[in-house]
Symmetry: C2
Subunit: 355 residues, 2 copies
């Protein structure tokens, strides 16, 4: 049995913090990093005890499998600081579990829960000063694993690195986005890796998104690869559609990520008495609903942006605008979820996790 | 306009070669590397002039996009040394062109042809001693590009590295393989990135292959993601099926790699007077042909293994054995292609390229 008890994570602190160089009033997303990072190596068939070291470059052999075969997975999380200076995570065990679900599909050895959770808490306590307190800001946390083992043979690596890096961040998107419903490209296959947070799922989206941007849209709505008739995801987020007063989202599958924001929104919406349907959404019904004036809202949901409202969509060379609502589900649900995250309200579902 | 003339590639040589430490009689595939590598950086919107430096580790920020979003592509090539000590490549411009086809799909800036070809030739001239001369051995060449630019935003990187590393190698597979026709997992989606040599395409195959190995097979035969009724690729290779005396391979598509070995085999087979069909292959016809005794051969085709004969396949919990033939297409075609590669025969198609 592997010893997964983490009694004493070795911490090597920086000599001088760089925190004074950071403009906390003008943070972009994920572009400045805190003083330290957690590193945990998989070698000789086991994960070693994690350690915390100064944030620093990673050195790899040119034949490291990450460069050649895309064996990498990640998670996205946030730490929130409330008005009492207490630090909170949101459903972190769900990220830990999903990391291992992704790991399994990508033939990466699963990481012990304790290494993830104790490592993360130790890192966040050390980096507490880096967690912004202002409205909408948070410490974006990026746990990731990649294949560091060497060799050109197309097979799983024998060594991996698990790293947690943190970036104090403002909000991810600003304003509403106009989206293109994809008719040519696709994000994932049946029996593929779309449900995993695998690196390659994201790189594959960049080119179709660039094409959509050239046509005047900001994001792509992904559809199934076989018929392009079912709506699956919005960019790198899950998607919600409101027709009349019913909120609809697609069921998770091997093509669709089991988003933590997605399932939290479903719970909150049901708690609000909103009729929620988890079922396949067709492009035709969305187009028809728009024509009839009963398509009230569309929005993406994910950790980075929380809720990202959509102002309109393009499909088969036609554009469809969504109405401006005085009280939208998007803003209601975003407020309820962020109020829980920032400890501004009761946590009736037990989602907050104190660091 | 970018200046893509490469007059003088700067070469920084190693002080002491490590070639004396290598056992050239016992080379595995892609696990020891030559003294030098080519490195070319993309920065400030342009590829810089490539340089050759001692083979050495790569240093990257933990937020480098390769770790998070799988933005990486590669090629596989070989250099062959003939009995006169002359060095040959096989259709290298096709690799150069395909690298840029992959680059476009993965939102990676295209690399000037001259940088690839002049860089490669300069590197191979420097590493000539490393190219094995023995039967079946060659210098495996791995050109690859990955996103080195920083930041957690899920968008294309602003910096990339193009590297060519080389590994003197023995043959990739030994012996025939037993394969499992996949009924659950899949390799690529319509409108996806399956035709590109993108890293993520390979990592996604590891887990289904592990499951097949547990069942007693060595490789997976990939089928379409929608019906699992069409045969698409064999592991990381293209696939050929011989029914009676007709050689059949699937058409290239956005799901299937345009393999250089594949198209060379088609040309040679036609030159041999073998009836060749390029059309979709159904699982049912392969199973039926096997039952009737007219399924003569199946083999994979790719740069690393050249031709990899299949001894039998599993499908829906049944196993089907292929016959042992005295004169197989696989061995005929492998001999003809390798004879051209190693300069043992006339090059009637103009495929050899002298370094």
């Amino acid at each position: 049995m592997m010893d997964t008890t983490v009694q004493n994570i070795v911490v090597e602190k920086v000599k001088t913090s760089k925190i004074d160089q950071i403009d906390f009033d003008n943070l972009s997303f994920g572009s400045v990093f805190t003083d330290h990072m957690l590193v945990c190596d998989y070698k000789n068939g086991a994960w070693e005890i994690p350690k915390i070291i100064p944030y620093q470059p990673i050195t790899l052999d040119p034949s490291a499998k990450i460069f050649h075969y895309g064996q990498s997975i990640f998670e996205g999380m946030k730490a929130y600081k409330d008005s009492n200076n207490d630090v909170w995570l949101f459903r972190p065990l769900d990220n830990q579990k999903r990391l291992n679900i992704s790991a399994k599909r990508m033939a990466i050895p699963e990481l012990p829960e304790e290494y993830f959770m104790e490592g993360l808490k130790t890192l966040l306590k050390l980096e507490k000063k880096w967690i912004p307190q202002s409205e909408g800001s948070s410490l974006y946390i990026r746990p990731f694993i990649f294949a560091s083992g060497k060799g050109f043979h197309a097979s799983p690596a024998d060594e991996y690195k698990f790293i947690i890096a943190c970036a104090p961040s403002g909000s991810y998107f600003s304003g509403k986005v106009k989206v293109l419903i994809e008719e040519t490209y696709s994000r994932s296959a049946n029996g593929g890796v779309g449900f995993a947070k695998a690196g390659g799922n994201y790189a594959g989206q960049f080119y179709p998104t660039q094409l959509a941007v050239k046509k005047g849209y900001q994001q792509v709505i992904w559809t199934d690869d076989n018929t392009h008739e079912y709506i699956e995801e919005a960019g790198a987020m899950n998607i919600f559609v409101r027709i009349n007063d019913t909120l609809i989202t697609g069921p998770t599958s091997d093509r669709i990520l089991d988003g933590i924001t997605r399932k939290s929104i479903i719970t909150i919406a049901e708690d609000e008495g909103i009729p929620v349907e988890i079922r396949k959404i067709t492009v035709s019904e969305v187009v028809e609903a728009s024509k009839k004036g009963i398509l009230k809202e569309m929005f993406g949901a994910g950790t980075a942006a929380v809720v990202s409202p959509i102002s309109g969509f393009g499909h088969k060379n036609m554009n469809y605008d969504l109405p401006e609502l005085e009280s939208s589900y998007a803003s209601l649900l975003k407020k309820r979820i962020t109020d829980i995250q920032y400890n501004k309200t009761e946590d009736k579902f037990g989602w907050r996790y104190k660091v």
